[in-house]
Symmetry: C2
Subunit: 130 residues, 2 copies
């Protein structure tokens, strides 16, 4: 199961924290549309390696092209095009910034997931002690 | 059938013209999510009437609140929240500008629809003449 699928199963209170992670700097549509691909790249290294960040930026745009061309829904296709244009403007000359944003989002998601996991384990541990 | 439903049935070549009408000034998500309500308001008059524009702006935000609260999908709910924030920043102090943008979009849609209709009638008229 992708990290993103796990995130979506969180209760609303924790989903609100995830909500705040995403804005124009890294639209949630991309996080959802390319969830597996995004999670299989090393954004943390790319955040400090301009050339690797540039490759990942180009690959991200190609992935979005692929998804957009397959998309049947007019609204989704339109939104995908707008997002691609926004990313070009924001990150074409500084892809490492994008890598840093994505890396931070993924790390924060893991933090939220582990805090949810610990909250679940709490009552379990208590019941084991009894 | 709403104007928006008719738009979505256009061929891709004409849909491209519609695509260019929508951006951050009037996100297509709103056009689709509130299609009936939007089409039943008089944006043309509001574009030149600040107080009417202010009422329509408030009502639009209420409509978006209603849709967002009913929305089950996390991504859609998140996008709706972002759009509401963007609209607040853009139009809270100048709602007539928003009315003008929406009015223009609706008029351009009608122009595209009537050009599609005329193109369809073309071959029909020809065949009637033969």
């Amino acid at each position: 199961m992708t990290q993103w699928k796990q995130i979506q199963q969180l209760e609303n209170r924790l989903l609100e924290h995830v909500d705040y992670l995403y804005d124009d700097n890294f639209p949630m549509d991309i996080r959802q549309g390319l969830s597996s691909w995004i999670e299989s790249q090393d954004w943390e290294i790319a955040a400090n390696d301009e050339s690797m960040a540039a490759v990942l930026f180009t690959n991200l745009l190609s992935q979005l092209d692929r998804v957009r061309l397959q998309e049947q829904n007019f609204l989704q296709r339109h939104n995908m095009k707008i997002i691609q244009q926004q990313l070009q403007v924001k990150y074409a000359t500084n892809p490492a910034v994008m890598a840093r944003v994505i890396s931070t989002c993924l790390r924060e998601e893991r933090r939220i997931l582990s805090s949810a996991c610990m909250q679940e384990q709490g009552p379990l541990e208590k019941s084991l002690q009894n």
